[in-house]
Amino acid sequence: MKWISLVSGFMIPLTLFYIIGYGVINREKVYDMFIEGVKEGFKIVINITPTLVGLMVAVGVIRTSGALDLLAEILHPLGKCLRIPAEVIPVILIRLFSTSAANSLVFDLFKEFGTDSTIGLIASIVMSCTESIFYIMSVYFLSVKVKKTRWTLTGGLIATVAGVAASVIIAMRMQ
């Protein structure tokens, strides 16, 4: 599937070209703005570093203890039935609660199977097309003190299942 990598490869450069070009045409100080934005980005990364240390240590513990292999073995029949590699299922489940925790599991898959393996690709795409449902819902609904969330969870799960299914189908075709 050469065209996937071709189109994908165009996206970032084209975005940069368009945004910077728009700035230049409007005679804006694009470089100064860029530096300003980088500074903000640094602050964001510094803020997530402690989270990553905490969660990657936790994943390191369950990986090296063999607990993750045990879990994958238990999930194997479920994976076979859904036609998903069993190793990806914990990522999908944790994804519903926390992005950073799910990311830590994905790094583990990257190390174990490689980023460009089918498992690595499924994990990458699943992380890109889903969100942490329970985290988002609790942040937003708690902020306005709404207790009955009605059909939000059903809708969110429908979107997530559709995204995961699409990820698996596409990743399987990419090899």
Binding site: F34, T64, S128
Partner: protein
């Protein structure tokens, strides 16, 4: 929530290690993971910094505001009952654009403002025609489902992670991710639109009877 997940992961892991006799491995695993986390963040400084830098240009040159305007027809279709409420529609649009551009952290403040406005409208409605102000309105559910379905066009963080872990084509997931995101968003929106229109009809019938 994360307090439990985190503690559970570490404690289960250590207990399993006690049974499998892999304590040594866990010991070095803990130290390696902590180091790895910081190494990863150094890579992230570069990539995330580059992206927020470019997005700062988009924001300050007014490009983001223009994109927000382009979104309005879509929003009017998704939220027909509050289309005349300019302020809340503005917040929802700003939140969606931030999500589309992969500025997750920038989307939360506008998202919370949108939620607050939606709740105000809901409370007013409840005062007039009855209803539970502690239950989400259809618009709030719709807004949440769209947020949950993920709108991101370029998953810049995942690309950075992939390149750190030795991918030959870190960016190859852009198009597949875009397709998968579109599928999840369309599925979520179809369900939400169906729910909203059905509830609107029910309310109308109820009104006719009364």
């Amino acid at each position: 929530m994360l307090n439990y997940i985190w503690a559970f992961m570490i404690m289960i892991g250590i207990m399993v290690a006690a049974f499998t006799g892999k304590m040594d491995g866990v010991s070095s695993g803990i130290l390696d993971a902590a180091k790895e986390a910081v190494n990863l963040c150094i890579v992230m400084l570069g990539v995330v910094g580059m992206w927020t830098g470019v997005m700062k240009i988009a924001e300050q040159t007014g490009l983001v505001r223009q994109l927000t305007k382009l979104l309005m027809p879509v929003l009017r279709f998704l939220f027909p009952n509050i289309a005349q409420e300019e302020r809340v529609m503005g917040y929802i649009a700003a939140n969606m654009i931030a999500n589309l551009l992969g500025l997750g952290w920038a989307s939360t403040p506008t998202g919370l403002k949108a939620m607050k406005e939606l709740h105000e409208i809901h409370k007013k409605r409840c005062a007039v025609s009855g209803g539970d102000p502690e239950a989400a309105s259809d618009e709030m559910c719709m807004f949440m489902v769209i947020n949950i379905s993920s709108l991101q066009i370029i998953p810049i963080n995942m690309i950075a992670y992939r390149s750190q872990y030795g991918s030959v084509h870190p960016a190859i997931i852009i198009l597949p991710g875009l397709i998968a995101t579109a599928v999840s968003t369309v599925a979520g929106v179809l369900y939400s639109v169906w729910k909203c229109r059905r509830n609107d009809r029910k309310k109308l019938e109820k009104g006719n009877k009364a």
